[in-house]
Symmetry: C2
Subunit: 224 residues, 2 copies
């Protein structure tokens, strides 16, 4: 695919489009206008048209978007058709939760192997994914295509384990540890799931709403 | 606090500032320039100054920022000093993971109670948090201050359980279920943790890097 630099904000909206289009397709909707799509996503139609225009011409004026075709195109932009493979490092609560409930294949990924330091888990399988000793990672990464390591070790182990993975050829990490793993501009691609960032944004919005309620109450008080 | 409308992008960066400032403070760093802070976060100094200027005057020209003071101010902007309380609904893998590893109190929240449909869990405690039957939620919400419900039920139960919570007075939901819970512009505040959105962004960045590598290789091939 020919690449132009696209802003992070646009990239971050693409997965939301993909989810919404999947939902529409499941509900048998074949065609949608940018107006209706925007309404369902809380975005303006022009924002939507602009976002897609970063990647080519997808809609048709007066017709709108063909839902299945657009879904396939957005998937392809995001790389869901590239057969990426992932390993999971750290089979604790979060690791188990992902192996149990998160459907990697729905998003084009194959979770091929998991690793832990707990000997009780060695040579077992969870949901069809074999679990091996951390000591076997080096060999595994050498002999298999590993596009992403899902890092679900305890926070305290995050940085040494990440460095170990990077030294052994892992080029992308999906990071669940709440630790900053690399310096900005590192060649390793790190995508962080920071639960706290999400909770704090929520905290902001609740604070804002509470302040608005209090201000409204104060205005009413003054009027009476 | 007096509120002006601040863009979502700014709000989304505030938790990152808070984490970074906490890290700096822990390392005994008392003072930092916007230049250095920007370097450590991969942002420009002017972006940082602009972000903080949405909320008041924090730095001092020629001195930079006082780290502990700024950390407190950012925490206060985000509402970490408001004593918000949370309940957790659905004690499966993710629920357990959060109760076990996620430090709500570090971010100013108190996790007061959890609920599930599994009778084996009723009247037990996990990490100091009591677990009760889903049937007891209505009464609990009536009698206790609940600022947030953490929704960690299976996807299939997400929408009915969310509607039930909203009907019973819950005004904010931290949503781990990968389901869209409310219409845009709903009065309920919903903050989504969409694992798939994060993985798909990562997928995009890996695809982009692979394409760049392929293009470089093709150029080299052509030169030889």
């Amino acid at each position: 695919m020919k690449r132009v630099k696209v802003s992070n904000n646009v990239i971050r909206r693409m997965p939301r489009y993909l989810r919404k289009l999947g939902e529409l397709e499941k509900n048998g909707i074949n065609r949608i206008s940018s107006f209706e799509l925007g309404k369902q996503l809380g975005l303006t139609p022009s924002q939507i048209r602009q976002d897609f225009s970063c990647f080519g011409e997808f809609g048709q004026q007066g017709y709108g978007y063909n839902v299945p075709a657009l879904r396939e195109q957005v998937g392809s932009i995001l790389g869901t058709d590239r057969g990426f493979s992932a390993i999971l490092v750290g089979v604790g609560n979060i690791g188990h939760a992902l192996m149990d409930n998160f459907c990697f294949s729905e998003w084009g990924f194959k979770l091929t192997h998991a690793f832990d330091i707990n000997p009780e888990l060695f040579d077992t399988c969870f949901n069809g994914v074999p679990i091996s000793s951390m000591d076997d990672i080096v060999e595994y990464v050498k002999e298999n295509k590993v596009d992403v390591a899902v890092l679900t070790v305890p926070s305290t182990a995050a940085i040494p384990v990440a460095n170990f993975l990077i030294e052994n050829g892992v080029e992308a990490i999906w990071n669940f540890t709440n630790q900053e793993l690399v310096e900005p501009n590192s060649p390793t691609i790190v995508e962080n799931i920071h639960f706290s960032d999400s909770l704090l944004s929520l905290s902001y919005y609740i604070s804002e709403r509470n302040d608005e309620k209090a201000a409204r109450a104060a205005r009413l008080e003054k009027q009476n």
